[in-house]
């Protein structure tokens, strides 16, 4: 063997591999920088500006925040929005979990699972707004539901709470966002080793005990991701609340939209910053429980 080679100093070549991740992540980084970071910074900056009924003026004031945070309406509205978020979360969770559970554990063939999934997806290809407003004739005073209820004699008066109420707002939210809960939970469930279920049964667990002690703990990450989706969607909404409450209920998004509509951008921006911080805190708290990067 030639020992000469040992004298050759070790050289390390430049490798494209070293910068590849940066090149690959660049498009994402650029899009987010341009269309997310800069706009958000703009909003943050504007939130400290002054304004009158026609113009906004560069400045550095806290009045927008002070006005916002000292007003009772703000708190009330935030509470109401959080109430929506919590209720919608609760319902979508129950529905999403049950539906995902059925498809994941009670439907045996992969083709049937896919078919059922697609069935759930098709309605989402009709425009959201059309689907939303079509609840109105369904729930209205003379809508299908009331007529059906009166027809079969459940009530003799039309039920008024069905439309333009918290009921209809939450119903519509659940309707629009349930799928955002179903999908991640289903994904988590499909990753549960089927043997675990049998192992639980073998250990004497009833169906319910298996659910509580095995399936729910192992579906936590999916629940969490779904929760993030649903909560953030509800917290930022303004159109559903307005249309379905008949304009009678408040939400933070609506409050911001009202401010924007009268060009009170600094006030809207301050409100938006507060909303953003609250949502970020909520999500950060949730992310502490589960590292979604690992759980995916």
């Amino acid at each position: 063997m030639s020992t000469a080679v040992i004298a050759v100093p070790k050289r390390r070549r430049f490798r494209l591999g070293a910068i590849a991740p940066y090149l690959q992540a660049m498009p994402l980084g650029l899009v987010l920088a341009v269309f997310l970071v800069i706009p958000i910074l703009t909003i943050v900056i504007v939130s400290f500006w002054d304004y009158d009924s026609v113009q906004i003026y560069p400045d550095f004031l806290f009045t927008n925040y002070i006005d916002l945070l000292t007003s009772q309406v703000t708190w009330k509205t935030y509470l109401n929005t959080i109430k929506y978020a919590v209720l919608v979360w609760l319902f979508t969770l129950v529905i999403g979990f049950t539906v995902a559970y059925f498809v994941a554990f009670h439907v045996k063939s992969a083709t049937a699972q896919m078919a059922l999934f697609l069935i759930c997806t098709i309605p989402f290809l009709t425009s959201n707004i059309i689907r939303m407003i079509s609840w109105i004739p369904f729930l209205g005073r003379n809508g299908i539901l009331n007529q059906a209820l009166q027809g079969i004699g459940v009530t003799d008066q039309p039920l008024e709470f069905l439309l333009f109420s918290d009921f209809s707002v939450i119903l519509t939210f659940v309707y629009l966002y349930a799928q955002f809960m179903v999908v991640p939970i289903f994904n988590s469930m499909m990753r549960i080793d089927r043997n675990l279920i049998e192992a639980a049964r073998d250990g004497g667990a009833s169906g319910f005990q298996t659910l509580v002690n095995v399936i729910i703990p192992l579906t936590k990450s999916g629940i969490l991701i779904g929760t993030i989706f649903v909560v953030t969607l509800v917290m930022g909404d303004f159109i559903t609340v307005r249309l379905m409450s008949g304009g009678q209920s408040a939400s933070v998004g609506l409050m911001i939209a009202n401010e924007i509509s009268l060009l009170q951008y600094p006030a809207a921006a301050a409100n938006a910053v507060v909303l953003l911080i609250i949502v970020l805190l909520m999500v950060a708290a949730m992310l502490r429980v589960v590292d979604i990067r690992k759980e995916l």
Binding site: D52, S53, V54, T77, E160, G247, N258, E259, L263, A267
Partner: protein, 391 residues
């Protein structure tokens, strides 16, 4: 050189006046293309302010103009280039329909119609050579009712808050307009008198919103509406039987065969008006086309087209030439229809013998109590409105 056929002017506004029929007619009469984009009133304000280059012609309301024009997105128009300027209904110039009229409260169009110079952003107190908006359509709003369901004659704004209509009333959810309705109600109920309903003091805002809030808590309202369509659907489906309403919306309900009345009230009307403005960035051939378009707008066909839908047009004389005498008599003079009245699409809107609610043009526009407005205290007002919605 540029060919006029290649010119496209982009106009945006609400669906009320952004009608495709007008664009078609422009194409055939003037040769250039008018691209119409319909938006809701919030989006219009946003777009006019934040994206002034995204349009060439803005079709906005006067109270919105009060906010938008000072931001600099529009250029004032030279009235010398407006052929029918002299014939424009004086409401938009002097504020008075007839020399004797009292100027109504609120953001009356003439107060935001003129600026001193092409560069000025502040509104002029008197008519000048520079006009901000050329009026297109306007109307006087009042309460719409379902005569079959209200069960009694309605004659005052205060009837809106009559507990008999609990859960069946509605108002507009556009703060600047909604509060005007509320003010009409308050005054009608004799609660107090406003110095200027269109420019309330904080105290007045508090009181007004207080009344609304109380009614809301008592369950008076079924819903608040924001778009034309919503108001029609609320009424047509029977969710609401009394609400402030636009005249064509009443017509739309009636066209479904559902009885609906545009009810004139003792206290008068709350009026609104819209106009066309030209974007700042427009110049050269395109600017010429814009003027041409505006002149065409006032030249009659368009006026007639809008009048037939229950709105009023800015230049009445020219519109009259494009309407049959029966139509003119029905729509403008408040006379019983001599023949079936047809919509622009040719559908029967009113049977022969019908009389227009509210009567003649002068009766209606002469009885305007206030205009939709932007107040000095609008920042406070928005806060209170949000409070009201959250209540």
């Amino acid at each position: 050189a540029q060919n006029i056929k290649d010119v496209t002017l982009r106009q945006f506004g609400t669906g009320v006046s952004n009608l495709n029929a007008i664009a078609d007619k422009v194409k055939s009469d003037l040769g250039f293309t008018l691209a119409m984009t319909a938006l809701d009133s919030d989006a219009i304000t946003q777009r006019a302010v934040t994206q002034p280059k995204s349009f060439d012609i803005a079709d906005i309301e006067y109270w919105i103009c009060k906010k938008v024009f000072p931001t600099g997105g529009l250029q004032p128009m030279d009235v010398k280039k407006i052929k029918y300027f002299d014939k424009i209904v004086p409401i938009f110039v002097t504020g008075k329909l007839t020399p004797e009229s009292v100027i109504a409260q609120g953001t009356a169009p003439h107060t935001v119609s003129f600026v001193e110079s092409p560069e000025a952003k502040a509104f002029a107190k008197q008519p000048t050579q520079w006009m901000t908006l050329i009026p297109t359509i306007y109307n006087a709003d009042t309460l719409g009712i379902r005569p079959d369901l209200v069960g009694r004659p309605i004659s005052n704004w205060k009837d809106l808050l009559d507990p008999a209509f609990k859960g069946k009333a509605s108002i507009l959810n556009i703060p600047s307009i909604g509060i005007m309705d509320a003010a009409m109600v308050c005054e009608s109920a004799g609660l107090w008198k406003y110095a200027d309903k269109g420019n309330m003091s904080k105290e007045e805002i508090d009181k007004t919103m207080g009344v609304l809030t109380e009614a809301k808590k008592a369950g008076q309202f079924r819903a608040f509406w924001k778009s034309f369509d919503e108001s029609v659907n609320l009424m047509a489906s029977g969710e609401v039987i009394i609400q402030s309403m636009w005249s064509p919306a009443v017509a739309a309900v009636r066209s479904k065969g559902i009885p609906c009345v545009y009810q004139p009230l003792k206290e008068g009307y709350r009026a609104w008006g819209g106009g066309l403005g030209i974007a700042k960035h427009l110049s050269g051939l395109e600017l010429d086309c814009a003027y041409e378009y505006i002149n065409w707008y006032l030249s009659g066909w368009c006026g007639a087209y809008l009048n037939r839908q229950g709105y009023y047009s800015a230049v009445l004389d020219t519109a009259k030439e494009f309407m049959s005498p029966e139509e003119w008599a029905f729509w403008m003079e408040g006379k019983p229809a001599a023949a079936d009245i047809l919509s622009p699409e040719g559908k029967v809107m009113e049977k022969a013998g019908a009389v227009r609610d509210g009567g003649a043009f002068v009766e209606r526009m002469g009885a305007v109590a206030c205009w939709n407005s932007v107040m000095d205290e609008d920042r406070y007002m928005i806060k209170k409105w949000n409070e009201f919605i959250a209540a």
